[in-house]
């Protein structure tokens, strides 16, 4: 094979990315167009009606946008008290030791569990606990989904922030110790500020994962098409309404679901882009 052919081959393979991504956007936009045209883009975003009575169809994305934002935000809140310590354990306290390797394996395995199995566990183990604690009568809902979602994103947030914590130069830590600081003080006043932007960006990427998580949420959120009025009530996320209704939908409903897919795609793309850019900056500095 000569150099020219080789270059063309590589270039052709690389072309697959723009083609696929362009195709994704094109397909989503064209197929969501009906819904946006029928309801109006802004109206679709802000309407909370979701009824498929023939002749009086009304579709709006607000309940699902709300559901997604609520589950993601709660999952983030529940995840931090565990992902933070894991990151410190692996990246600072027990850096490079066997115990840290064990904990890393634990989080790796957590990251490897398929989401449908998380869903099953949430449904058969966590839901009865929520019911027994009288938190909500039916057990499923935003809270249940967020709890499992939190476990699912711990590995992502923890392993990436551990990487940034590890990168804090030893010079700085020793400098702080030499001034008489305890380890806790070094972590609070040197490690966190220095690794701060990196840690922050790893949580942005964890949010990116939580936003699009489908099966777990579908199995646990309760699948009602209203705006959740509290964290214990049921609802639907953007991903779960698609998973639930895509198979049976046609025409305007199908287009509306694809429109929700487009919104979800844009939100995750934006979040991931912000996260990646921040990570790149944090790595350079």
């Amino acid at each position: 094979m000569n150099d020219k052919l080789y270059k063309i081959l590589l270039f052709a393979a690389a072309l697959i990315m723009p083609i696929v991504c362009g195709g994704v956007v094109y397909a989503l936009v064209t197929d969501a167009y009906d819904a946006f045209e029928h309801f109006g883009f802004f109206k679709f975003l802000t309407s909370s009606e979701w009824s498929y009575t023939e002749g009086a169809e009304q579709y709006g994305a607000l309940p699902f946008i709300t559901g997604t934002l609520m589950t993601t935000l709660l999952a983030l809140i529940f995840c931090i008290p565990f992902s933070f310590p894991v990151a410190l354990f692996v990246g600072e306290y027990f850096k490079g030791t066997k115990v840290a390797a064990v904990l890393s394996t634990v989080t790796d395995l957590l990251a490897g569990i398929p989401s449908i199995i998380y869903g099953l566990w949430g449904f058969y183990t966590l839901r009865p606990i929520i019911m027994a604690l009288n938190i909500s009568p039916q057990g499923s809902g935003v809270l249940t989904a967020s709890l499992v979602l939190a476990i699912m994103i711990i590995p992502y947030a923890a392993s990436l922030s551990a990487e940034f914590i590890k990168m804090v130069p030893n010079d700085l830590k020793e400098g702080a110790y030499s001034l008489g600081a305890t380890r806790a003080e070094v972590i609070r006043k040197i490690v966190f500020p220095v690794a701060g932007s990196g840690i922050f960006s790893s949580y942005i990427l964890a949010i990116g994962r939580a936003l699009g998580e489908t099966m777990t949420v579908t199995m646990l959120i309760g699948n009602t098409n209203n705006i959740p009025d509290s964290i214990t009530s049921t609802g639907n996320s953007m991903a779960s309404i698609i998973a639930n209704q895509f198979g049976e939908a046609d025409d305007l409903r199908l287009s509306s679901l694809i429109a929700i897919g487009l919104i979800l795609f844009l939100i995750t793309a934006a979040i991931n882009m912000v996260g990646k850019i921040m990570i790149k900056r944090a790595r350079i500095s």
């Binding site: 130069p169 010079d171 700085l172 830590k173 020793e174 400098g175 702080a176 110790y177 030499s178 001034l179 008489g180 600081a181 305890t182 003080e185 070094v186 006043k189 040197i190 500020p193 220095v194 701060g196």
Partner: protein, 255 residues
Amino acid sequence: MESVKPILEFKKTCVSYTKQTMAVKYVSAAIERNTITAIMGPSGCGKSTLLRAVNLMHNLYPNIRVDGEILLNGEDILAMEPIDVRRRVGMVFQRPAPFPTMSIYDNVLSGFALNGIKLSKAEKDATVERCLKSVALWDEVKDVLNKKGTFLSGGQQQRLCIARALAMKPDVLLMDEPTSALDPIATKHIEELLLELQKEVTILIVTHNMGQAKRISSKSMFMYLGELVEYGDTETMFNNPVDERTNAYLTGKMG
């Protein structure tokens, strides 16, 4: 000759990384107050290790052991709380490393912040001015105190690190090859500074630069393979070394 009580005294100090290998072997020496003592020796001779032991830096690394005694004003620091010791013993490292997230002002005061000590605004201002003046940095940075310390030149950064250590009013200042990452002019500045500083603080400096030891120190130690081979007045050591190995090192036959 034991008229003045030594500020720092090593008594059979040993440092070991593993059970078999000792990096510092039975070092005994007394350091006099307000002197500059240079620790010399070929690389790997244990000079930095010995210096770091005075600040209990080995406590940060679980597999390093220190045996024997290190007395600070007659008290064995190996039996003391590390954070207490480190407040009384300052340290300046090879590479200047001001805290990048703090301003110059906050860098000088970082010891207080790290130790959770609250100061009034007036006390802060006074400390910053005093310390930056004593490292001859005040005139250069007094208008940019709120800028990050990382914008300074290497020599300025190192002086900032010295100021940071001085702010805690340490009894002893340990310096681990503080000028090895600096250019000759910055090095000259720091050396002049140290000669000034010995009025306030006792300085122990590890250096691989014999000229530097000769220029600034009154006492010198020569270490080889973990042992303290020779310790005495710098002038005597350079002119009439007692030990064969010291002579070989000083004349460039080893190192």
